[in-house]
């Protein structure tokens, strides 16, 4: 019975207080969360790319990747207001309490990426799951080769963490390319879709590893270009998004082919999902 009680307890959300809320436009907020019981924090040790189930009591749970650095005490989740649970989160602020359970899923291959060039390709809100990974690498800058960050948004207002991109741009041996599909007059970066930014980076296929996150249509196109330029499928890592309810591979919602995105993913090498990725209706 003890094992059963333990496995039941692992699925219980822990209350955490919102200690900071930063908004990027009306529909995108970053929440920093601090556990009411600090003793549970070690259970939430994570690697960049993993996610928590964020819980609103009485309302529901949503899977949200952790966008803070693993070494920070507080956890940050960048949340887009898109559904019935996030709409309630939208109305919460500093001092309010959310529940967290996790961390779940796979993480970016930051160890494997050491001594390699890292190409980060993101679109839309896709930067949130990879922000922590980028910060992680810069904090250990000597361990990584050239870092190129290509990020595309539809509208300038979709650009969260603009200050991050500006800070990264000043890092040694680093390229940051930003582009918007539908720019406004104040937009001072490139215009177009993110795959057009590939023209601006040199890729040495033998020593490049790719972290990718964003809309499927972007990822399909980007994978195509990268493979044409010789990057092997085993070194293109994609963060996937699917409907998740349990987050532990039991409820069945998040499947892509044989993968449970919640526990096998959300980050998977393209080589593993090539057969299924981009197939309509899968």
């Amino acid at each position: 019975m003890k094992a059963i009680a333990t496995s039941a307890a692992a699925l219980v959300p822990e209350p955490a207080e919102i200690v900071e809320k930063r908004s990027f436009g009306r529909e995108l907020h970053a929440y920093r969360l601090s556990f009411l019981d600090p003793a549970v924090r070690p259970r939430f040790d994570f690697m960049p790319g993993q996610f928590n189930m964020v819980y609103v009591p009485g309302v529901g749970e949503v899977a949200i990747s952790i966008s803070s650095d693993p070494e920070e005490e507080d956890l940050e989740h960048t949340i887009r207001i898109v559904g019935r649970t996030t709409r309630v989160i939208d109305g919460l602020g500093v001092g309010d309490v959310l529940g967290l359970r996790g961390p779940y899923g796979s993480y970016w291959p930051l160890h494997e990426a050491r001594w390699k060039d890292v190409l980060v390709v993101t679109g839309g809100l896709g930067c949130a799951p990879v922000t922590g990974a980028i910060e992680y690498m810069f904090r250990r800058r000597a361990n990584y080769g050239r870092i190129s960050i290509l990020h595309g948004v539809k509208k300038p207002s979709d650009l969260a963490h603009r200050e991050h991109f500006e800070a990264w741009r000043r890092q040694p041996d680093t390229f940051v390319g930003l582009t918007a599909d539908q720019p406004d007059r104040a937009w001072r970066y490139r215009v177009g879709v993110v795959t057009e930014l590939f023209e601006e980076v040199e890729i040495d296929p033998a020593r490049t590893i790719v972290f990718m996150c964003g809309p499927q249509i972007m990822a399909v196109l980007a994978v195509h270009i990268l493979q044409e330029r010789g990057v092997p499928a085993e070194r293109i890592f994609i963060s996937l998004e699917r409907n998740m309810k349990c987050a532990v591979g039991l409820c069945g919602h998040c499947q892509l082919g044989p993968e449970f995105v919640c526990k096998d993913g959300p980050i998977l090498p393209y080589a593993r999902i090539a057969r299924f990725f981009g197939v309509r209706g899968l």
Partner: protein, 265 residues
Amino acid sequence: MSARVRAARPRLGVFKFASCDGCQLQLLNLEDELLALADRVEIAHFLEASSRVEPGPYDVALVEGSITTSRDVERIREVRDQSAFLIAIGACATAGGIQHLRNVADVEAWKSEIYPHPEWLDTLATSTPISDHIPVDHEIHGCPVNKREVLRVMLRALLGAGPDPPRASVCMECKRSGHVCVIVAGGQACMGPVTRAGCGALCPSLGRGCYACFGPYEGANGPALAGRLEGLGLPRRDLARRFRGITGSHPAFRSTAEGLEDGDG
């Protein structure tokens, strides 16, 4: 809806258009819960329950019934203007109800057949759902609605959360409850496989075929079910009537009915 509905004690208005009052009765049938609910919600306008009427605005409005007169058309706009979150409840309000059958009949002809003074009647040629006239924030389906679902929607609203209605087919509820399929084992015409869940598979639980009062579920495959039920020996004309019933104005059901009627010669 969050900020508006999360007022300390939200004000509720219940309004009736062309209908039988059965959905409002479902609210009153929440006997064990109604008092507790009234603690959390100020029932400001609910003529079926009380003649005491408070003026708007209302945080939540429940609207029963379909639009069948020109006065209805004006009145529903007034209700909309007074209501922050407006929910259409029941098949009349969401699909025009059984009275939508007038939409495929000659209203002028039957008026004079039924009434001695048809000229005294002020009625539109159609019975239409609320959403044909004003923006609706949510719909609760059924004839009548399931009182549990109305309560679920209210309790969610009180937390500032939107509804999460059942969207599967009736078969899901039927099988979860362990009922034996009345089509496969009973040879009955059951509309469950094309109908939206929410009733708890009430009719199949009593050994009767579902008659689709909750309307089509998303992606309902009417023609495939019609073909199967035809195989049970049901004449196409009778089958068409099953799709023409209470929620027959929904495109998925209407087109199936039309297909069956066309093929009936």
